[in-house]
């Protein structure tokens, strides 16, 4: 049985249909990326899956006892609220110091425990959010544009971390992104969303789908080319670690992709 499943899900916000008849499922241990332009209903879909929004039609079915770790798109800690990273990890469930330290070490920021959340860099902040989500020992991680505000190396490193965590714990990952390059490399399955599901499949299949080209077609030549390039490149050298290899060498192309996209 799937961990979580949406069946014919439609969501209306202020009388406007934001999502129509979305059907998707996430199986144990897979990384699924939802890709779509701004306003395509990506965050809305996640919020419906989390049970925050009530569907106008259709339903969300969760496996019984499913534990979800959620990393929100943007969390601003008001300056009026003092909060160390260590304290944040204990919300809403208190965790032991040893577990908190282990979680921070796992996501690569063991040194921030005593720092104020508001003083962390973007990358550190996202890692602390991830550490908190992992502390609940989730079956499914839901990440909403987790790398927004990170630079390219930071973004690549964050996605590598997600893959490592998946490999170690077998957690399934459902994330939302508009970043074509890194996301595609990291995903088992990509779902293109624009109010409804346009296309779905492995990264390679989706990137060649006409629906995908229609959605991201104009100005994404660079990104598409880059994606192909990364794959071909990695196949030349090393099948197992091709993705990481591609990231490390992808910077000039990525710059170009961004320009094209803008």
């Amino acid at each position: 049985m799937s961990l979580i499943e949406a069946k014919g899900l439609s969501i209306r916000l202020d009388g406007h249909e934001v999502l129509s008849r979305v059907t998707l499922r996430v199986e144990a241990g897979e990384i699924v990326t939802i890709l779509g332009p701004n306003g395509s209903g990506k965050s809305t879909l996640l919020r419906a899956l989390l049970g925050i929004l009530r569907p106008a039609e259709g339903e969300v079915i969760r496996q019984a006892g499913l534990r979800v770790g959620y990393v929100p798109q943007r969390l601003s800690v008001d300056r009026s609220l003092p909060m160390t990273a260590r304290r944040f990890l204990s919300l809403p469930h208190r965790v032991a110091d040893a577990d908190a330290a282990a979680a921070l070490a796992r996501v690569g920021v063991p040194e921030v425990a005593a720092r104020q959340m508001g003083d962390l860099s973007g990358g550190q902040f996202q890692r602390v959010l991830l550490a908190r989500a992992l502390l609940s020992r989730p079956d499914l991680l839901i990440l909403d544009e987790p790398t927004q505000g990170l630079d390219q190396p930071g973004e690549a490193a964050f996605y590598r971390l997600i893959e490592e965590v998946r490999r170690e714990t077998g957690v399934a990952v459902l994330m939302v992104s508009h970043d074509l390059h890194v996301v595609m490399a990291a995903s088992d399955r990509v779902i293109c969303l624009n109010g409804h599901i346009c296309c779905e499949g492995t990264p390679r299949v989706v990137s060649t789908a006409p629906e995908y080209r229609a959605l991201f077609g104009l100005g994404t030549q660079g990104a598409l080319a880059l994606y192909q390039h990364v794959h071909d490149h990695s196949h030349d050298h090393d099948h197992g670690h091709g993705h990481g290899h591609g990231h490390d060498h992808g910077h000039p192309h990525v710059q170009q992709a961004e320009h094209d996209h803008a």
């Binding site: 989390l50 925050i52 929100p72 969390l75 009026s80 609220l81 003092p82 809403p92 208190r94």
Partner: protein, 263 residues
């Protein structure tokens, strides 16, 4: 011992600060300052209604404060332009309350006591009411502490953790109405919000975690309450405003200390 008016006043002030430290911290974190004002100002209308219907003033205040708090909270949930809405509600509540009080025979003479408090005249019964109300608020906040903090940080995060942010907001709404009813006699309707915000704001610069901020706010509130009472006795100043004035002094001290430490 309780026969001494000063002891009763001190106990009343300490009881109030027990509730305002923690609740005031939430008011600051959630930017509910105007919310506090609207609820507190509604208390005057509650006084007028209680006097007109021969109900206990505490009950009238609590009922109207609760109605106002729920109204504001509901409007906020619907995403109204809160700054303007709260401004309209806060000042209208005060004005309509004052007009209503003027219709009640005899109440005009006591008006100052409701606006600025009358802590030197609290009875044993008042002290009991204040401690019961403050204790209830503190118990409510401690019970929901983790959930309230999570919901304050981010509603979606709370939702994803299986909490209901709306319910947590209701807890704070209820606590606020209770504190307004309790604080009316101590600092008066006009300065209740000040008693919530100023000690918490003074504690902010000295705290690294939510808990230490709430505890510090409680201590600063208690210090201001006792210091204000002394000031009032010594210089024959009105007690409620004296308490807030001392709290404001502590805020300035804390802010300068925080600035010194940063430099």
């Amino acid at each position: 011992m309780l026969d001494d008016f000063l002891i009763r006043a001190s106990l009343a002030a300490l009881g109030l600060s027990l509730a305002t430290g923690a609740l005031g911290s939430f008011v600051v974190w959630r930017r509910m300052a105007y919310f506090g004002d609207a609820t507190a100002h509604a208390a005057i209308l509650g006084v007028a209604l209680a006097l007109a219907t021969d109900l206990p003033v505490g009950a009238g205040t609590l009922a109207v404060a609760l109605a106002m708090a729920v109204t504001v909270s509901t409007l906020a949930a619907r995403g109204w332009a809160m700054d303007t809405t709260l401004g309209v509600l806060a000042h209208s509540a005060l004005a309509i309350g004052l007009v209503a009080v003027s219709f009640v025979p005899g109440a005009r003479t006591d008006l100052q006591a409701y606006l600025f408090g009358d802590i030197l005249a609290v009875s044993k019964g008042d002290v009991g009411f204040i401690w019961a109300g403050a204790g209830l608020v503190l118990a409510l906040l401690l019970w929901r502490w983790q959930a309230l903090l999570t919901a304050t940080l981010n509603a979606d995060l709370a939702h994803a953790s299986g909490l209901n942010p709306d319910r947590e907001r209701l807890v704070l709404t209820l606590a606020l109405a209770l504190v307004v009813a309790v604080a009316l006699k101590v600092v008066g309707a006009l300065l209740i919000a000040a008693m919530l915000i100023i000690p918490a704001a003074a504690a902010r610069g000295l705290a690294r975690n939510p808990e230490s901020m709430a505890i510090l706010a409680t201590l600063i509130g208690a210090g201001a309450a006792l210091g204000g009472l002394q000031l009032s006795l010594w210089q024959d100043t009105p007690a409620g405003p004296s308490i807030i004035a001392v709290a404001a002094g502590l805020f300035v001290l804390s802010a300068s200390f925080g600035r010194m430490r940063r430099n």
